[in-house]
């Protein structure tokens, strides 16, 4: 019989679990119900006492009791740092003795979980998109940067699975359910020498944050925005203005092709607010948004692999033979993106007022 430990962590404020952690709790509940497995929840936070309230009723569906919560506490766990987080997760695993460990594929846990699996003699798979299997337990993940999908099984236990954010709904306690007592068990951790201190966070040197993971729409700017226009001139300033205006009006998240971001390092005319963090594709991000709008981007395969988890896709491009027209987008408008986005902004502006 399987036993499941869901590992979670606090967000930057320390006062709540991350959304991805709550998604892992949902996945853990569903899996525990399906496998008839025992469920425990582990928390890594400075003050986990504040967080476990949200986990009341997080037992597998159909059971009234709360899932036991194991927690490490202390200021050392306020920081997302390899040495302390690895020690904490290792002790939580040793205490719970699970056969399956589910955790969010967050930057914090992705940094440490393979080391934890190594320490407890387990195996690990990451970027898990689905948990399933009619006969036995299996998982789905992608290979070759979202170009090949595989369903895998492992005999080795404990099996650590880092769940891709956005693949499960976030757990929310039912406010009408009877409040089950929270059974939080404090787990002691002997910390190693801490040679690293987290000193803060830094946003890219841009006027405003253009990466919005929770946005409905991904807007992608391609290299065409900085190319010569019909008048023989480049209009980078105008392009920047159009794009930023659209992002503000629509609330979209900004992505870019590698070729446009790389232009910055080669001394070419660039959009000042773009960094490598905006890059989508083979060497960039694979974000999850309901819709995606690509502009001035050719839709080459290394870029489009970053669109794997974009629902509805539309593109504006001057080239009727661009990659988007070959089955990669739902709608492709053969048009000048400058003209189109100017009018889109005008319409969005007028609908706001």
């Amino acid at each position: 019989m399987e036993s499941i430990l869901v590992l979670t962590h606090a967000d930057e404020s320390g006062s709540a679990l991350t959304k991805a952690s709550l998604e892992a709790v949902t996945a853990g509940r569903d899996l525990a119900a399906r496998l008839n497995a025992e469920l425990r929840i582990g928390i890594v936070a400075a003050k986990p006492q504040l967080l476990s309230k949200g986990l009341l009723c997080a037992a597998p569906k159909g059971l009234q009791c709360a899932a036991p919560v194991l927690a490490v506490a202390g200021e050392a766990f306020a920081q997302a740092r390899f040495a302390s987080d690895a020690a904490a997760c290792t002790e939580l695993c040793r205490a719970a003795q699970p056969t399956l460990v589910l955790a969010p594929h967050s930057s914090r846990f992705a940094r440490v979980m393979a080391a934890v699996a190594h320490r407890v003699g387990g195996a690990i798979d990451t970027h898990i998109a689905a948990l399933g299997g009619a006969e036995g337990f299996e998982t789905t993940r992608w290979f070759y940067r979202q170009r090949i999908e595989a369903v895998i099984r492992r005999d080795k236990r404990p099996w650590f699975l880092l769940l891709e954010p956005g693949t499960n709904p976030a757990f929310a306690a039912d406010p009408h359910a009877p409040a089950a007592p929270s059974d939080q068990i404090a787990i002691a951790v002997e910390l190693p020498e801490l040679r690293t201190q987290v000193t803060g966070f830094r946003a890219p040197k841009v006027d405003e944050q253009t990466i919005r993971p929770d946005a409905q729409l991904l807007f992608v700017a391609g290299a065409g925005w900085t190319k010569k226009q019909p008048d023989g001139q480049v209009h980078t300033g105008e392009a920047a203005e159009l794009i930023l205006k659209f992002l503000r009006a629509s609330g979209a998240s900004l992505g870019s092709s590698k070729s446009l971001v790389d232009q910055g390092g080669e001394g070419n005319s660039v959009l000042p607010f773009l960094t490598h963090l905006n890059q989508v594709g083979q060497t960039g991000a694979t974000p999850r948004h309901a819709k995606g709008l690509s502009t001035c981007c050719h839709g080459e395969e290394p870029h489009v692999v970053g669109w794997r988890f974009i629902g509805e896709r539309r593109a504006v491009n001057l080239d009727p033979n661009c990659g988007w027209t070959r089955g990669k987008a739902d709608v492709v408008y053969i048009a000048d993106a400058f003209a189109v986005m100017q009018r889109v902004n005008a319409l969005l502006g007028s609908s706001d007022t």
Binding site: Y144, R145, R195, R202, Q216, E301, P302, E312, V331, Y333
Partner: protein, 271 residues
């Protein structure tokens, strides 16, 4: 700067991203069809790590740089013809089947034992570099396993920058959620740094560096030890290409005004 670093960059080889990939089944498990015939490149994020390592080694006199690469010898030789012209390094090849379907722990074990055996590598000065994820398996765990196996207690992933201070400590910028970087200060080597894109452009080919590198690359390839990778109980139930073909509507006869109106309606739908 009194500190020197011994930098080992772990970098695999992958099919050129422009190639179409098709999975196939072999007696040894899933593989890419005709993978040995596809053009190969150094894994992109690991390549960023290599360029950053070379830059760091050039700024910290006395530092050394090894490129530890696992793949079929013949493919490694082909890729090195290009990579060796970029930056100076000493190649430490591991002859092993190419591919993203191998188990990461087995791959890490082969790499870790190879690094342990590098002559004159001072583990107290070791900075273990690599890509934060590969373009093949894309799990982001191999480098972490290697670091753990080598008992390195400080690891950083999604690294875009390090700034080394005079006392050997360094500031690291790691990518975190929401388009931000987490800033950390580490007391110094040894440490693992899994690089994202970094800040350096790909160096131009330098034939002189290429000639100097190739003097050691070819003998190293001839001496490369073969590593068999254990599956460690990993079984593939299905491996397939995603159903990605869409029925594309190509619109060529609408004015910018009409397109804008349609786009705004589409964006506003379901909001």
């Amino acid at each position: 700067m009194a500190t020197t670093f011994h930098i080992a960059v772990c970098a695999g080889i992958v099919p050129d991203p422009l190639q179409t990939l098709e999975p196939t089944t072999t007696p040894g498990g899933p593989a890419i069809k005709n993978e040995m015939l596809l053009p190969a490149v150094l894994d992109p994020w690991a390549a960023s790590a290599l360029y950053e390592a070379a830059d760091l080694a050039s700024r910290v006199p006395g530092s050394k740089l090894w490129l530890v690469s696992l793949g079929p010898k013949a493919r490694l030789q082909q890729v090195m013809m290009t990579v060796a012209q970029k930056v100076a390094f000493e190649l430490v090849p591991i002859d092993s089947p190419q591919g993203g379907f191998a188990d990461a722990a087995a791959t890490a074990e082969a790499i870790a034992s190879t690094i342990e055996a590098i002559p004159n590598l001072d583990r107290a000065k070791l900075l273990l570099f690599g890509g934060w994820e590969s373009a093949s398996r894309g799990a982001g765990v191999t480098l972490q396993f290697v670091g753990e196996r080598l008992r390195i207690a400080d690891q950083f992933f999604g690294v875009d920058q390090i700034i080394v201070h005079d006392d050997g400590s360094f500031e690291v910028l790691e990518r975190v959620e929401g388009g931000k970087h987490q800033v950390s200060v580490c007391a110094g080597a040894p440490a693992v740094l899994g690089w994202a894109t970094g800040n350096l452009a790909e160096p131009r080919n330098n034939p002189q560096i290429g000639m100097a590198n190739m003097r050691t690359v070819m003998p190293a390839l001839q001496r490369a030890k073969a590593a068999a990778l254990d599956a460690n109980g990993l079984r593939y139930v299905a491996v397939s290409l995603p159903r990605q073909q869409r029925e594309t509507r190509v619109v060529q006869d609408m004015t910018p005004d009409q397109i804008a109106a349609e786009l705004v309606a589409w964006i506003g739908k379901d909001r």
